[in-house]
């Protein structure tokens, strides 16, 4: 046992040296493009006008740089991590729950921001975000981000609800009827963080610093809150289009949601709006990260620069109901995005968003936190009524 511990220590040390070696291997100058670029991305993140000819930010890049882009879409963060572990890709658009794993697993390399002239245009608050920055090294370039807003029915709520309590605690809504069976919650363990965030505001004595870093007591309180929510929610949502249908046909009047659904529902004429309640919201922020053994590093750097292009950020944000990482894209008219749409998507409320992170045992704010795998099994139990 002691020997295996020693082996572990040696391994950990050598891993440390290796990461130092990786950091040194960071590119210092760019060469000619390699003619191709392989990207793992969320559906809709790299559009070449095939879905809708108006939304195309890939063909222009290919013509300008000669880098032929091929996209592999992934449906979950796990798929992204698995694909990156397999190799053969240059870039990945990773969310906060995958980015740290990719860094820890040494599947991505640090980026030399001097080679990305547009870095300076980035939102300052995203430049050193913890989900892609480790010990001062940037392991990626912020792509777009979005909040998890509270969507509500304007016929039931003449005024926007100010608190998440409408989905967490049983109460009569402004139309005089109870909220039982008329609210929804996100069908993913990460929703425990939403409950923790609610408790952060309403039960300060628990001392929660970050909704992603919970000790056993704080975690138990969050689960209790969620058990109460189970009695209110008749279904949990995880597919955006199912939620849209539930708002239209199932009598759902309030739920955590994404601007994506809210925009589509509004476009359909449904009486739905969204708000940022007083407790704050959770959110996602995606980062373009470069594979540690990228075969086409020059094309990858060219794309990273291109990904901060104001026109791309503008059109992508409109397309996906997200927010650009380059704030100018909201207002400079370089694409189809307008300041109004940005405000709708939550661009002005960045400070209220606590971005998704994977809960880990060794957390920064306190000694030991409940790790993600327990979030998964306990959330399953909560939904099962236990």
């Amino acid at each position: 046992m002691i020997r295996s511990l020693a082996t572990c220590a040696v391994l950990a040390l050598s891993a440390g040296f290796m990461s130092a070696a990786y950091a040194q291997a960071m590119k210092t100058e760019l060469g000619e493009g390699e003619g191709r670029l392989n990207v793992v991305a969320w559906a809709g993140f790299l559009e070449r006008g095939e879905t809708d000819p108006k939304f195309d930010w890939v063909t222009g890049f290919e013509e300008a740089t000669g880098c032929k882009v091929s996209v592999k879409t992934a449906n979950t963060s796990d798929e992204m991590v698995a694909l990156m572990n397999e190799g053969g890709f240059d870039l990945v658009t990773a969310s906060g729950d995958a980015s740290r794993r990719l860094i820890a697993g040494k599947r991505v390399q640090p980026i030399n921001i001097d080679l990305i002239p547009s870095w300076s245009k980035l939102d300052d608050r995203l430049k050193d975000a913890p989900w892609h920055t480790v010990e001062g090294a940037h392991y990626g370039v912020p792509y777009v981000w979005g909040p998890n807003v509270l969507a509500y029915n304007t016929e039931v709520f003449p005024e926007a609800p100010t608190s998440w309590s409408v989905v967490f605690e049983e109460q009569d809504l402004p139309d005089g009827k109870s909220n039982v069976g008329r609210v929804q919650a996100y069908d993913g363990p990460i929703h425990i963080a939403d409950a923790a965030q609610y408790l952060m505001f309403h039960k300060p004595e628990l001392g929660i610093v970050s909704p992603y870093e919970l000790n056993d007591e704080q975690y138990a309180a969050a689960l209790d809150l969620l058990r109460g929510q189970r009695k209110l929610a008749s279904r949990y949502w995880h597919d955006a289009f199912i939620q849209i249908d539930d708002f239209k046909n199932e009598g759902v009047v309030a739920s955590g949601s994404w601007p994506f659904q809210v925009n589509l529902l509004k476009g359909d004429g449904a009486p739905i709006a969204s708000t940022f309640p007083q407790e704050g919201v959770t959110g996602w922020a995606d980062t373009s990260m470069m594979h540690a053994e990228a075969a086409n590093p020059n094309c990858a750097y060219k794309w990273l620069e291109h990904s901060l292009n104001s026109n791309l950020q503008s059109d992508l944000s409109l397309w996906f109901g997200a927010n650009p990482s380059v704030p100018a894209a909201c207002t400079d008219g370089s694409g189809m995005l307008t300041a109004e749409v940005c405000a709708q998507n939550g661009s002005n409320d960045f400070e209220k968003v606590r971005f998704w992170q994977t809960p880990i045992t060794q957390c920064a704010s306190q000694g030991e936190c409940v790790p993600y795998y327990r979030w998964v099994s306990d959330y399953i139990a909560v939904i099962g009524g236990r």
Binding site: T76, S77, D78, D97, A98, G181, R182, D187, P189, A233, S234, R235, Y236, H238, D239, I242, D245, K248, N249, E250, G251, T358, I360, T361, E368, P371, Y372, Y373, R374, W375, V376, S377, I380, A381, I383, G384, G385, R386
Partner: protein, 312 residues
């Protein structure tokens, strides 16, 4: 030309062919090798790799997988929340099986006894047609049909039967806020989607029941009910059991229908999906998959004893 010259002139191909002719065992071996490798390595190999994983455990503090033999993960399965999932799935699978047998039997009986020529073709088309369209499209369509403001509720309202639906939905367990968010809804969609797999084997077994046996039964004074339970049903039972293997196992493994229609309470497939993902709890996911394997094993053994495999 001498006889000895003929084989020489046929070259390597000929020599090889002669060699195989002289070693028939080798021919058989080489022909069976690819499928055996496929079955052994790809199919059983991956199954055993999975089984092996279920004997590992996850370290509670680091979340890393501890590759030492333990039964701890199986003990996890007996936690109330996980036991709920298994019981829920097995109950649903059993109900769907009984439900589809009840619905399928008259349809299959009609097809086997009365449908002739063109009607037979229409029957086959009607049963098979839903299988040609995408499974997802059908499930989403059912979500719309069952919705609170969907066509089914509309029909009930027109018939002034809304009270009936409300009374049903007020029941515990099977009820809920609307049909599409209740276990009843999940059951109906399972029933619809797997029904063809029950109809076809029952029909096949009914076709093999000689018509004169039914006539003989009534000649001897049996009531229709007695004829059914004492003659027709026992003879058609292998078909029912063969169909039930499909409906039971398909329901037990499905993780898409309960995700779209139902109460969001997990079924085995969904639990496996959740645990193997970001959670990285492969041991528990593997242990969960062992549960349906065992249940199906027992079920198949029972079905074989009852002659279900003769009706396939």
């Amino acid at each position: 030309m001498t006889a000895a010259e003929i084989p020489q002139s046929r070259g390597l191909r000929g020599a090889l062919s002669d060699w195989f002719w002289r070693n028939p065992g080798m021919t058989l071996f080489l022909m069976l090798l690819p499928p055996l490798l496929w079955l052994g390595i790809i199919y059983l190999g991956s199954l055993f790799a999975l089984l092996l994983q279920s004997f590992y455990s996850i370290d509670e503090y680091s979340g890393l997988i501890n590759r030492e033999f333990t039964l701890k993960t199986y003990a996890e399965l007996f936690k109330p929340a996980n036991l709920d999932i298994i019981l829920r799935t097995v109950t649903m699978a059993a109900l769907v099986t009984v439900g589809s047998a009840v619905v399928a039997f008259p349809i299959a009986y009609f097809a086997a006894r009365y449908a002739k020529g063109r009607w037979k073709a229409i029957f086959y088309l009607g049963v098979m047609l839903p299988l040609w369209s995408s499974y997802l499209v059908k499930v989403y369509a059912w979500k719309l049909i069952l919705a609170r403001e969907g066509i089914l509720n509309w029909t009930f309202a027109k018939l002034h039967l809304t009270w009936l639906v409300e009374a049903w939905l007020a029941l515990p367990i099977v009820g809920g806020n609307s049909l599409s968010v209740s276990h009843t809804g999940t059951f109906l969609v399972f029933l619809y989607v797997w029904l063809p797999y029950m109809i076809l084997p029952i029909q096949a077994s009914l076709e093999r029941v000689p018509g004169n046996l039914i006539e003989a039964a009534s000649d001897l004074g049996a009531t229709p009910r007695q004829t059914f339970w004492n003659v027709l049903f026992p003879l058609a039972l292998p078909g029912v059991l063969a169909g039930s293997i499909f409906t039971f196992s398909l329901t037990m493994g499905d993780y898409i229908i309960p995700q779209i229609v139902g109460t969001s309470r997990r079924f085995i497939g969904q639990a496996v999906y959740a645990h193997q993902g970001t959670a990285g709890n492969i041991p528990l996911a593997a242990a969960f998959t062992v549960a349906p394997i065992l249940i199906m094993g027992v079920y198949l053994w029972f079905a074989k004893r009852k002659g279900a495999f003769d009706a396939l």
